[in-house]
Amino acid sequence: MVLTLAAVAVVGGCKKKVAPPVPPTAPPPPQPKATLTVSPSSLTRGGSASLAWTTSDATSVKIDEIGTVSASGSQSVSPADSTTYHLTATGPGGSAEATARLTVVEPPPPPAPPVATESDAELFARSVKDIYFDYDRYDLRTGDATAVNENAAFFKEHPSIKFTIEGHCDERGSTEYNLALGDNRANAARTALINAGVPASQVKVVSFGKEKPFCTESNEDCWQQNRRDHFVYGQQ
């Protein structure tokens, strides 16, 4: 953008017929002229542009945003925001102004700033809840209905996610009976999910009985931790 403003010189003229001749005087000093350009006129934040100016018949040249400058010149600028540069050229013949606007645009959203495209596995781990059981029981507790329903909703929203329900038991009782009990626990959750509309193909079950406890102390807190259906992303 180039704006050139020329000062208007008013030529005084009088049509009076009779005018005493005026002794000729020195011609008035010429009006200053100025140009200011910026190239490119638009940049993304952090980039730089070249600001260039020319003046004539000026004794003082000033750019507001920079300060006093030479009569002609150029300078690299890198403003954070859009800026209109304003130049004033002052001389014996008056002054002239020129402006140049540099537009700064926002950088494009930084190329995939680690705004994690959360993996399915992470989403699964954050969303799906394990279900716990009473001692020697494999029926779902009424208090766990919410967890079961939320899990079902999640699996229906993500039909591409396949998962495994691991049935676990506490350390008490026989190895063999606990493996069968763990299977019933895993299948209790599977049946509830399928009844809630989750496709059977998404679900696999496995029982670990008391073979892979989450907690290894012999107390009720620990045993309760181990009596569970553990939901695992993926199917082996």
Binding site: D136, G173, S174, E176, L179
Partner: protein
């Protein structure tokens, strides 16, 4: 179900008050009392330097086998006459039958080594039959290594037990299969019946459980996660590798051989619920036996007939022991209170051994102990009383012993006892050793 009012005749050990049929006393002519036997150390027959350690092993193993057999009262060695008893001419019957030895029988002999070959001569004499004292005379020849000294002692012990124990084969050459964690994984292991020669069978690096050796000792069936699963898996002891066996889907547990080796019973959740199935030994002809929702697991065949199967079901809540015909019909409950698991059918078909928390429930944290029940009368007796969690009983082939796992000494370890609960003996130490299974012969 009643507590056994009479002691179990098969046990022999409780002879005086026993009533009912007698399967072990037949032919031994001494009533139900234990036979008092003397076992002087075998003499060394040669000067070879290797004789002494081999003879030491032999003498220890023979003495232990006869002590453990359950039918003998082995006279203390401190009572024995002084001397060297290498051959019949060294034996004065009076000296062995008199106080303090008071032995009815004396087993003696000698062991020698020449040119790397070990030779053992062994005799069994009846001290009450001066006219014709010789009951047994045996001779063995094997390469002179420690394992063979052990083997010959077992063989000679089994001859004595067979001859004096009513014609029932001894168990000194039998094996016990079990699960051990000592490699870092649950693998199938095996050992001699007395705990010697413990060695791994599988190296699957997974979780393997419930080993059951086939009646002919050629294969071990078990349940393993090594291919996902868990699946029924079969290892050939003859080929030293896994055999092909079908994956049925679901959780597959607790295989059990029929005594003819033709069939396996096991638990599978292939239908979505653990049920009892039977199939051929190669996995063919799969047939479902149970139909009730809830855990069904741990089947065992009646080895006398293969026409009945006992198993554990949680169909009514806590696990209880049931019995049905081997086609799935005629279901009856054998144990209807407490927490009852891990049935094992005795070789003669008469008894079930099982693990039972009899007083079960909040405020009654009873121990899990080993019991045996007469399957006809449903009378039972408790065999373990020494604390800890006791589980996974398995009968010896002669029906006189039971091997099981117990935590009474700390971790899970394998113990044996006579089938009346006496002679508790720990066989394994360190790591975790569980789910013992005694071979069929």
């Amino acid at each position: 179900m009643k507590r056994l009012a009479v002691l179990l005749p098969v046990l022999l050990l409780l002879a005086a008050s026993m009533v009912g049929q007698d399967q072990i006393r037949t032919g031994i002519g001494v009533g139900g009392e234990r036979i008092r036997i003397a076992v002087p150390d075998f003499a060394t027959a040669t000067q070879d330097a290797s004789v002494a350690p081999l003879n030491k092993t032999f003498n220890e193993v023979l003495f232990n086998d006869l002590s453990a057999a359950g039918i003998f009262d082995v006279a203390s060695r401190s009572f024995y006459p002084m001397g060297n008893f290498a051959a019949p001419q060294d034996i004065k019957l009076d000296a062995w039958s008199a106080t303090p030895v008071k032995a009815s029988m004396v087993a003696f002999g000698n062991l020698g080594v020449s040119n790397g070959t070990m030779q053992v001569q062994g005799w069994l004499f009846d001290t009450k039959s001066p006219q014709n004292p010789q009951v047994l005379a045996k001779q063995y020849r094997e390469q002179a290594i420690d394992g063979n000294a052990r083997l010959i002692a077992h063989k000679f012990a089994d001859e004595i037990i067979f001859r004096l124990g009513g014609g029932i084969n001894g168990i000194a050459e039998s094996k016990i299969f079990f699960i051990s964690t000592r490699s870092g994984h649950k693998e199938v292991w095996a050992m001699d019946y007395d705990g010697a020669a413990q060695h791994p069978i599988t190296h699957l690096g997974s979780i393997s459980l419930s080993p059951r050796v086939s009646p002919d000792n050629s294969r071990v069936a078990f349940s393993s996660f090594y291919k996902g699963g868990p699946n029924i898996s079969v290892y050939s002891l003859e080929l030293g590798r896994m055999l092909n066996f079908p994956a049925f889907g679901g959780t597959n547990l607790s295989p059990a051989w029929s005594s003819d080796g033709a069939h396996l019973a096991f638990s599978s959740s292939r239908s979505g619920d653990p049920e009892i199935y039977v199939c051929d030994a190669n996995g063919g002809n799969l047939k479902r036996l149970t139909q009730v929702h809830g855990p069904d697991v741990s089947p065992v065949w009646n080895p006398r007939t293969n026409s009945q199967i006992a198993w554990v079901s949680g169909r009514s809540g806590l696990p209880r022991i049931y019995m049905m015909d081997s086609d799935g019909g005629n279901v009856q409950k054998l144990v209807d209170n407490g927490y009852a698991v891990s049935p094992a059918w005795s070789p003669n078909g008469q008894y079930l051994a099982f693990a039972w928390i009899r007083h079960y429930g909040p405020g009654a944290p009873g121990n899990s102990d080993i019991y045996i029940m007469d399957v006809v009368s449903k009378h039972w007796i408790q065999l373990t009383h020494d604390g800890g969690h006791n589980d996974s009983p398995s009968w010896s082939p002669d029906g006189r012993h039971i091997v099981y796992q117990s935590t009474r000494g700390g971790g899970e370890q394998i113990w044996t006892m006579l089938a009346d609960g006496s002679q508790q003996t720990q066989l394994t130490f360190g790591s975790s050793n569980t789910q013992p299974n005694w071979s069929w012969k």
